[in-house]
């Protein structure tokens, strides 16, 4: 409970900081708040605290709370100029902190009501953040599309919830699961409801065929917010996906496993092939993000894969923070150009920037000693042990396509620069890039440390 009060309180405090012009001192407060949040979660470990029957702080919730708070911590440092450059710093702080409040509900819900509220508290501030580049029509368009399709998907989620309520008489996940496990004939309304909820959540995690909003929203949003969507929001959406299907629909696992495995195959194929033909790096990374969503889906329909999901989201988020920070810096340096040509000669212009980008892209492509390889490898082993050999073949083939488009950027980095000027990095960016690149190396050496917590 104290974690929730802490994050929501920080959000309210951010609004007050706008009144007294606290631009200088509010960032450290947020970082201390997030560290305290991680500390609270560590202190609560194993307590299984119930909050009014609506939230349960079990180890799954606490582990994901720690992961998303840590990623948000890194993200806040990498995006510091988003909070200092213009007059709306308190709005930006408050909106991001409110999305984190929603994120906390989403990793710990035990009831459909808190699931819905969590999704909405996460999404509504995010619509505003995506459109926060107010004078650019592209940002407006991204916000509009994201908003329209987001609320459309929410309505499907609600209709699904209503149908499940109608067939079981409760919103509580444990009671829903228990009622269905005991009943001799499952009403068709229950499956209709489950399918609608599945569609809606697949939309939120941007899995094909419900992914079409993601490239537009990712490309149009300010790059800092794109990074936030690809890291914190994706992690949390998958945690909620897992939690919902594990605790509410666990008793009909065999029914949804087939649907999800087909969805996973479609996501991997569509995302990787479309990414390979993109010229804009931000858009390419959006498709890459969808293809990683395909890999994360594997953890939802195979059994006992919570720790794999935790590991995969952590690895993917850390490498995304690096990639989007580099894209942001290169884009600013090339006056708004974010095509692959803008990356030409990055190695000459700034070796640290280029080195970290290469580490992150190699990790995403799944090249051996890096963490991304370990994450994919664990997903493949769990697929094999669950008997999805056909999906392993598809996943490996599409990963090869992935290697192709990640290397397009890496090759550009090694080419001759178009302009000789060096890119200078601020201390915060340099710090965050090096920390994230080191983290990628460390968690690839000791994956058991993270896999063992759940």
């Amino acid at each position: 409970m104290k974690e929730l009060i802490l994050i929501a309180g920080l959000g309210v405090l951010a609004l007050l900081a706008g009144l007294i012009n606290g631009r200088k001192f509010f960032m450290p407060i947020v970082l201390i708040g997030l560290s305290t949040n991680i500390g609270f979660s560590l202190a609560d470990w194993g307590s299984n605290e119930m909050v009014y029957g609506m939230l349960k702080l079990d180890n799954f919730a606490l582990a994901f709370n720690i992961v998303f708070s840590a990623i948000a911590f890194l993200w806040f440092i990498s995006a510091y100029e988003y909070f200092t450059d213009d007059n709306n710093f308190s709005d930006h702080f408050a909106l991001v902190l409110f999305t984190l409040t929603g994120a906390f509900l989403l990793v710990s819900f035990t009831n459909m009501i808190t699931l819905f509220l969590g999704i909405e508290i996460l999404s509504i501030p995010l619509f505003v953040l995506v459109g926060s580049n107010k004078t650019k029509l592209k940002s407006n368009e991204a916000a509009f599309k994201y908003f329209l399709l987001g609320s459309f998907a929410s309505a499907f989620l609600l209709f699904g919830m209503a149908l499940i309520y109608g067939s079981t008489g409760s919103f509580d996940l444990a009671i829903i699961s228990g009622t269905i496990a005991k009943s001799t004939s499952i009403p068709p309304m229950y499956f209709a409801g489950m399918l609608l909820m599945l569609m809606s959540i697949a939309f939120k995690v941007s899995a094909a065929p419900f992914h079409f909003w993601a490239p537009d929203a990712y490309e149009g949003a300010p790059t800092n917010i794109t990074a936030y969507m690809a890291t914190v929001v994706k992690t949390v959406a998958f945690a909620a996906f897992f939690r919902l299907f594990y605790s509410a629909f666990g008793s009909v696992h065999s029914e949804y496993a087939l649907v999800l495995s087909i969805m996973c195959a479609i996501t991997l194929i569509v995302a990787n092939i479309t990414a390979a033909v993109q010229a804009n790096v931000k858009r390419m990374m959006a498709y890459s993000s969808i293809s990683h969503a395909g890999f994360m889906l594997i953890a939802i329909f195979t059994l006992n894969a919570a720790n794999l999901l935790l590991y995969y989201t952590l690895v993917y988020s850390i490498s995304s923070i690096i990639v989007f920070t580099v894209i942001k810096i290169v884009k600013a340096y090339n006056s708004g150009n974010d095509s692959i040509n803008a990356f030409k000669g990055l190695l000459k212009q700034n070796p640290i920037l280029a080195g970290c980008l290469i580490v992150a892209l190699l990790s995403m492509a799944g090249i051996p000693p890096l963490a991304g390889f370990m994450a994919k490898y664990f997903m493949f082993t769990t697929l094999v042990s669950n008997g999805y050999l056909w999906l392993v073949v598809i996943a490996i083939l599409t990963s090869l396509v992935g290697v192709y488009y990640y290397f397009k950027v890496i090759i550009a980095v090694f080419q001759k620069p178009e302009t000789e000027n060096d890119i200078t990095l601020s201390f915060a960016h340099k710090f965050i890039l090096i920390i994230c690149a080191l983290a990628l190396l460390v968690i690839s050496i000791v994956p058991d440390m993270i896999l063992g917590v759940l």
């Binding site: 009501i113 509220l117 909405e120 329209l148 209709f159 209503a162 858009r283």
Partner: protein, 106 residues
């Protein structure tokens, strides 16, 4: 005996809200005016509200009605944000037609 609320079969409530929901879905998909699309999303949400209240009354369980109050509050917040986004588009493009929103492709 067939399931009913005050003599009206529960199936009618389910059919009515499904039809309303489908009208909303079609509206969002077919219409190109942003305001009408927002209204259709509201229609979808209200179809859900109707269904929840019907089930809540049928089970004699208040949770469904509490949920409806939450949905109403969230829908109001959502529309506020949606109209603000539309205002922002109008300021930049001087029109509320969604046809101008074609800059992001690929």
């Amino acid at each position: 005996m067939e399931a009913s609320i005050n003599g009206v079969s529960l199936n009618y409530y389910i059919i009515l809200s499904t039809v309303l929901f489908c009208i909303g879905v079609l509206g969002v998909m077919i219409r190109r005016n942003a305001i009408i699309m927002f209204m259709c999303i509201e229609l979808m949400l209200n179809a859900v509200n109707l269904l929840m209240v019907a089930f809540s009354r049928y089970f004699g369980d208040t949770n469904g009605q509490v949920f409806v109050v939450f949905i109403m509050a969230v829908a109001a917040a959502e529309v506020a944000v949606g109209l603000a986004i539309l205002m922002m588009i109008y300021r930049n493009a001087k029109t509320s037609d969604t046809e101008v929103l074609n800059q992001l492709k690929g």
